[in-house]
Assembly symmetry: C2
Homo-oligomer: 191 residues x 2
């Protein structure tokens, strides 16, 4: 990638918060025209998500309470990358799918990597497609502080859930649009 | 929407940081099983983004430096909702499109609203589709601390930019997948 013409050089970094999920910093930066500005940064270890489609052409989703929204959402299975897993996101994806839905998959395919909100965060999310699903004989336990309910929806039901606002997050909206595109193309092209 | 079975009640909220873009809090919560946990929250006023497609079927993108990534990205035009604009996101979208690209549009259509990363943030982004573009005679100035370059790409060029990693953010990946879906369907359905 070519060097940036617009680079903002950090002159000072102030640590605001070190959390379990996020770290927060404020950087003083020098702008390309020499003036100064501040940038608020939320640093994150990254995450994975899984577009899991059953042989009956239903997408596997997870209903859960989201504290920042103060309500339930319906999202594709996802989870944070633990320390030490940074170089094995597929491993995380397989674990999260099984923990959250009891499903294992025969075939895995990386669809895309995306920054969730690059204006203030470096959170990077890798989305995988999982096919040929089967329920695990002895599935992994869910995380201690996660309360979830697995649901399987057709594309028509997904569209209703988008209208009602239950499906409302970027990764899930991307994944179902990607899925509909594959179905529309006849499933013959991998994008 | 039905009430949540998984609600986490806040027992205490601790303010960590009040910034220009984000506010950070840590909530102590009671889980559905009665145990306690903490939740890290990044609150945000919301944002808009614009899928602007020219009559030549090129998408209008903006190259800019993203401090959390320490590099340039190519994204659809977007911007934060200013205080007082909360109930008029379309107004923000029109302003951001003109400020960042000099374009005005004859027709506007809301595509979707999405939470960028609901695990820790309430940032809500509304994406509009803008068509029948024309350059403004006397376009609005860019924000003082924004350095941008407007670029127009065909769908094939967009796919190259995704491969190279230059297009890498959730809203832009959603928007171009949505665009490709409309093109694949023949542009006859508004989804």
């Amino acid at each position: 990638m070519e060097p940036s013409k617009f680079e903002e050089k950090t002159t000072k970094r102030t640590e605001i918060f070190k959390g379990k999920i996020i770290d927060v910093f404020v950087d003083d930066v020098t702008l390309p025209d020499g003036r100064s500005a501040t940038r608020e940064l939320v640093l994150h270890h990254g995450a994975v998500a899984v577009l899991a489609v059953t042989d009956q052409q239903k997408i596997v989703l997870v209903r859960q309470f989201r504290k920042p929204l103060e309500r339930d959402t319906l999202e594709i299975p996802a989870g944070k990358i633990d320390p030490g897993e940074e170089h094995a996101p597929l491993h995380t994806a397989k674990r999260e799918l099984e923990e959250e839905t009891d499903y294992q998959a025969e075939t895995w395919n990386e669809i895309v990597g995306m920054y969730s909100t690059p204006g203030f965060s470096d959170e990077f999310l890798t989305i995988y497609e999982a096919k040929q699903l089967k329920k695990a004989d002895r599935p992994l336990d869910q995380d201690e502080d996660e309360f979830l309910q697995c649901e399987e929806l057709t594309l028509a039901q997904v569209k209703e859930a988008i209208k009602s606002g239950l499906i409302c997050d970027a990764k899930t909206l991307y994944a179902v649009t990607y899925w509909e595109l594959q179905l529309t193309k006849g499933g013959t092209e991998a994008s």
